[in-house]
Each structure stands twice: as structure tokens, then as C-alpha cells.
């Protein structure tokens, strides 16, 4: 098996638990903002106007 860190990847920084959590918490601010933006867009979808569609349009099914 190829050694991924030496053969393929530019070696990422290896850190201890507390540094990892600090980085994770920093990125989490962006994660949360993204989640809120997704919620806001879903709220906007719920406020889109609607188009009347003929529900009697024939379709073939079972």
C-alpha cells in the first residue's frame, strides 16, 4: 500500500487534541453560518408564489 502522506499528499499538520478542537471550533462558526443561511433560503422557498397546475393531467401509473 502506498504511503499517502509521503507519496501523495503535502503533509498536513499533525496536532494534539486541544489544538484540533481549537481549529474545529473556529471552523464551526462558518459551519453554523452556513446552516443558518440554508434555513433562511428554505424560509424564502416557503414564501415563493405558486402556479396553478391542472391536477387532472393524465399520467400512466399503477
Amino acid at each position: 500500500m502506498k504511503d499517502i502522506m509521503r507519496d501523495e499528499l503535502g503533509a498536513p499538520k499533525i496536532v494534539d487534541r486541544s489544538s484540533f478542537h481549537a481549529e474545529l471550533n473556529a471552523l464551526r462558526v462558518r459551519e453554523k453560518a452556513h446552516t443558518r443561511e440554508g434555513d433562511a433560503i428554505a424560509a424564502a422557498r416557503r414564501r415563493l408564489p405558486m402556479v396553478a397546475v391542472d391536477g387532472a393531467t393524465p399520467l400512466i401509473g399503477v
Binding site: M1, D3, I4, M5, E8, L9, G10, P12, K13, I14, V15, D16, R17, S19, F20, E23, L24, L27, R30, E31, H34, T35, E37, G38, I41, A44, R45, R47, L48, P49, M50, V51, A52
Partner: protein, 267 residues
Amino acid sequence: MATSKERDKEHGKGHLAMNTPSIVSQQEWEAARQQLLVKEKALTRSRDALAAERRRMPWMAVDKKYEFDGPKGKVSLLDLFEGRRQLIVYRAFFEPGVFGWPEHACRGCSLGADQVAHLAHLNARDTTLAYASRAPQKDIERLKARMGWKMPWYTITDSFDADFGVEEWHGHNAFIRDGDKVFRTYFINSRGDEAMGSTWSYLDMTALGRQELWENSPEGYPQTPTYKWWNWHDNYDAEASPDPKWVDIITDPQGAALRRRDAEAKA
């Protein structure tokens, strides 16, 4: 299958009991959609950028030798990779004390398990998904059979859950290995967990991403042409490299259609 009329009668709701938005023409609706589409596209780009940031996280060395119970006995965290490069472990709550025990796993975790995509696609990107709970294997086996779940599912026997932030609540931890050395690369929990289940949601949390050429990844990360590695879930093993005809279709869809028509005309 019940008809809409039958359901309305049963539930006593022939008409929407709420304020409805304005009813507009197809054209006006399309205009409103196009306006919202600008925001939708921005959200998609922001998700891509976020995944690119995840790929630049430092890695946390995992030195402790964790031990799980599996269908065939004791296994290590390294074994959970099943030989693949990356591993995602979802901590599902199924054990004494959890609502539903012993018939069912936690409702939220069960809903999540129901939306796990076919794992052949994730596996084709050298990544394994595993579930882990504290229930014994015999209970996990019974639960999987009852609910029709196919993912590998292990029993936690030590401090794995406490050490990876999932002793009280669900969460996905992503790992990568370098030979026998294991590193934790990302963690998603809380609201972030509800989106998990699609092949892309899993790959986007890994250190290597989707491994497609369009992605903004650190220098030297494995990447292959976009779309071309996709296959039917029952055909990855049979087809070691992409079928040239599929590559043709995905590279130049219009040209491929023309060539097919020409070939059919000649036949």
C-alpha cells in the same frame, strides 16, 4: 394507495387551513425562482468553500488502541477502515436506557440510518462508513435485520465515545490512515448531522473530499475527472477503470448523442 379525496375526508382537510402565497402565472413564478436561485447558487458555493476548509484542517493523531466488538469478534479502529484510506464513524444510540430499547435504536439515529445512501459509491472513493453503539452485537444484528440496514455496525467497548465527543449525543467522526497510523480529521454533530446520508455529505466531511478535479484541495491530494468514476452500485468491482463509452457521454454529451445517432443510422 389512498386517493387525495380519501385522505382529505379522513383528515378533514379539504382545503389548506393557512395563508397561501399569491397565485401567479408560470412566467412570474419563474422570475421569482430565478431571483431565489442567485441565493441558492451562493449557498452551494459556500458549502463547497466550507468543505475546502475542512480539507485544510490539521489532523489529530489517534494513539490509543480502541477495541470494538464486530460480527466476527474483537476489532481495532484500524480494522474498521476495512483496508480503505478513510473511515467515517457515526455514533448511533442503541443501548439500554435509550428510548425504544431493545426493539429500536434512538428515533433520530434511526431516521438518519434510513437515509444512508448505497455505500458502494462512498467505498469507491476509498472511504468506509461504520456505525457504532454500545448495544451487544446480537442486538445490533437483530436491529439491522428488522430495519433493513446494511452498514457495518460495531459495539463500543471503551472510551471511544467519550474521546470523540459522542458519549451523550450523536455525531460523525472522520478518520484517515497512513499505513497503521490513524488520524482524526473532522467532526460533525448537532444540526450538522441531519444533512448526513448522501454520498456527497460523507465525502465532503473527509480529509480528501470528493476527490474530483474541480475541487479546491491542497496540492497533491488524489483527484480524478469529475463524474467519470461514477458507476452503478453493482458494477464497481466488475469495472476497474471507467467504461470509455460512459467517459465519452459525460465528456461531450451532445457529441456522444450525435455519434450514437450516426452509428444507429448506419446499422
